[in-house]
Symmetry: C2
């Protein structure tokens, strides 16, 4: 169907999956790495750095923005993107909790 049955899962599971999906593309990973390494923000330099069309980059930025991971501020002609600290920290800690919930193999198949 291509349609997730969101109603049978918990809010936590849905939220987590949504955030992970926003990250689950190499272009979006690359965009985030660029934004982070440029310390402050970036705009259409992303189009030059990555080898994708402007429309494509804009679309990926939109998805990251929809997930709340980044924030975009219009600065004259350009748009400045940066990490949304609270969402970033929350996701970071949610993932840490999730991954910590598995504690080594005691006995297994």
């Amino acid at each position: 169907m291509g349609l997730t049955k969101a109603e049978i899962f918990t809010d936590e599971q849905n939220r987590m999956a949504t955030m992970l999906k926003a990250l689950a593309h190499p272009a979006r990973i690359a965009i985030l790495q660029q934004i982070i390494s440029a310390n402050a923000c970036i705009c259409g330099e992303l189009v030059e750095e990555l080898g994708l069309a402007q429309a494509t980059i804009s679309q990926h930025l939109k998805e990251l923005k929809n997930a709340g991971i980044i924030q975009g501020t219009i600065e004259g002609v350009t748009v400045c993107y940066c990490i949304e600290p609270k969402v970033w920290e929350r996701l970071k800690s949610d993932l840490a909790v999730f991954f910590a919930s598995y504690n080594e193999p005691k006995s297994c198949c």
Copy 2:
């Protein structure tokens, strides 16, 4: 197109995106939580726990297995799934590094 241009990204970015994509579905999050909380392993109990058809669960398990996150062992008639410790730990640490690469807002838009 629906086809990612994997060749323009680094191996690291592609690998990370692939792993995240494997996690990026509420059913797969739920499956992993079940496997973890059942301490050892599980099999078709997942079909009962989650409200999805057997074929659907099997498909999700296959994706997790393809990503290397879980491992399945045939035990008679049933199949026992469990976390693959090494892959789990590696992903855990890769994500920790990724999320730690952003250190609070110094000055931003």
